[in-house]
Subunit: 353 residues, 2 copies
């Protein structure tokens, strides 16, 4: 507390990201990073950019990246917004598109940054409970609201909503923006991006941090009607002209050009997820069906916080949320098969020992 | 305009940065970039970071960078905030520290992003005219206000305010935050950073874009009392957990370790500035005394917009602001001696031809 703070600062409850430990010996299954590195072509292209030209500002509009994303997703560059990770893209979306006279709706169990953005921008919100099986139900959103946002697949559950349900939601809310946060869509879901051509109220947000193995580079993007993109651009250009550095723009562009590597690593993660889910089920865990690069699981006889602490003693970190309804779940990122194997061995000791 | 926009978006007038031309043949003296590349040690360190580890998130707190800046400037890490360029640092400062019940004060001629931030965050402001010689006068700020911000040296004039005047301002406003934006301080000014130990109301903002030749990497920072830094951290952690990517953190850290290169390039820019100022004066220009990596100059017999357009036809770009009181000035970034020489030759033709 300080008399120098703007009044809003006193009430902020900032987001707390998963731990980024400084030790490198840990098996790190807590922040949904990709176990495989970025495409070698991405690294090679960035290499070429690592030069005296770093003295020059980047393109403030990142036109090359917008063009690459537009070509990849079959939309026009005017339908693309890019930012410093999807967290920044989401922040701008909250400020530019989600503050209205009626409350914003999002699930009670979801990405925990959403209420934080609401605090930062003074946005009124109402949470909509997931079903008993921790699923989003489209019909629960049939209520007065200013806008809607949810991740698909949802986090931290990993559960996927079919595109038909999203389309119904869009039809039912023609005057409200619906943001679909697709951070994990490439691990088995169907993207809502094609729907932007028919729904001027749809904004789809994606990231290069997960499926494109570039969490360390900070690139996210949004796709929607040019009017929605213009709102994001106005806010971005009133905040920071150059959010993406030269290396990030270059690396991100090339990431969309190496489709073979992208498909191969996504398929490897999906295969490991299915193997891990089966092994956890074998150990007595209840594992939610996941379309993401993590699983969400609980054991009927073992306390989740205790398990997480015991795993940590064995140098394995997973994520545990102290939140009503999910406090008995662990969220486990998909690692390499060796990492998943080490996790299963440790859990076997803990739950059968 | 769109019914989907949050109401605030309609009224925004975004900042327009200097042109980043896609042509590489131009002599680019319009956005105050350093004519020399970053330290070779910076590039080498980033090289080592260009690896599979880009799949992992960066340290959200950039502790290594805070430690490097703290050590360099002889403060504690708790007195350091870092962000995605000083524009992002300034944006957070406006939201976290400059919104109060009384208006924010800044010069009428200054960094044109300031009123844009005010629009974004709904901050009431009042501009304080520069003197007839385009100088900030401390006594003009003796008025009721919520906070004060100005660049030192000021932009786009390049004029430096002595530290004694800043200290008097701090004494006169013990209950208001005073932000000193030192983007250009390393080109001959005296930083206010040592004053943060005595003034809990002082925040100093700097960037690695100019004197450290890293405009393409996007790193800025602020130094102040830990209570001011906490406000910035709260806002940052409610906006984006990871604003600095792994390469930016690494490059920035090493930039503070190569003092010899830093001093050498700053001195070269200062020497070129003095040579250029003399040559422009020789051509009849009135050149304001500059402590920055640019000069601000007008010719009593030649229209500035016409000169800028004529230079552009000769593949030289400088910055011209269509703003009352300064519409007859050109802001010219200091290039290499060859670039400055080409500029002087072109101007010689134009003003004596």
């Amino acid at each position: 507390m300080s008399r120098f703070w703007s009044p809003i600062v006193h009430a902020l409850t900032p987001y707390v990201p998963g731990e980024q430990p400084k030790l490198t010996q840990l098996i790190k299954l807590n922040t949904n990073e990709n176990p495989y590195g970025p495409s070698p072509k991405v690294l090679a292209a960035m290499q070429a950019e690592l030069a005296d030209t770093l003295r020059l500002y980047p393109d403030p509009n990142a036109d090359k990246l917008k063009a690459a994303i537009a070509a990849y997703h079959d939309v026009s560059p005017a339908q693309v917004f890019v930012g410093n990770g999807s967290d920044e893209v989401l922040a701008h979306a909250f400020q530019a598109l989600l503050k209205h006279n009626a409350p914003l709706l999002f699930p009670d169990i979801t990405y925990s940054f959403y209420p934080v953005y609401c605090g930062l921008y003074g946005i009124d919100y109402r949470t909509v409970p997931l079903s008993d099986t921790l699923e989003i139900r489209g019909e629960d959103y049939r209520q007065d609201c200013g806008a809607i946002i949810f991740p698909n697949p949802n986090a931290p559950t990993g559960r996927l909503l079919p595109l038909a349900v999203i389309e119904a939601l869009l039809d039912e809310h023609p005057d409200q923006v619906v943001v679909v946060d697709e951070a994990y869509i490439d691990f088995g879901g169907e993207s809502a991006i094609p729907l932007v051509q028919r729904y001027p109220n749809l904004l789809v947000v994606q990231t290069l941090s997960k499926s494109r193995s570039l969490a360390g580079l900070r690139v996210g993007f949004a796709i929607g009607h040019p009017a929605l993109i213009e709102a994001l651009d106005r806010v971005k250009n009133s905040f920071n002209s150059y959010p993406l550095d030269r290396l990030a723009i270059t690396g991100a562009v090339v990431s969309f050009e190496d489709e073979a590597y992208f498909q191969q690593t996504c398929q490897a993660v999906i295969a490991s997820r299915e193997t891990l889910s089966a092994a956890l089920t074998e150990l007595g865990f209840e594992v939610l069906p996941s379309a993401a690069n993590f699983v969400f699981a609980r054991h009927p006889k073992h306390d989740a916080a205790t398990l997480a602490a015991a795993l940590r003693e064995r140098a394995i970190i997973v994520r545990h949320f102290r939140q009503t309804r999910i406090e008995q779940y662990l969220r486990i990122s998909i690692g390499t098969d060796a990492e998943c194997g080490a996790l299963v061995s440790a859990l076997k000791e803990l739950v059968t020992g």
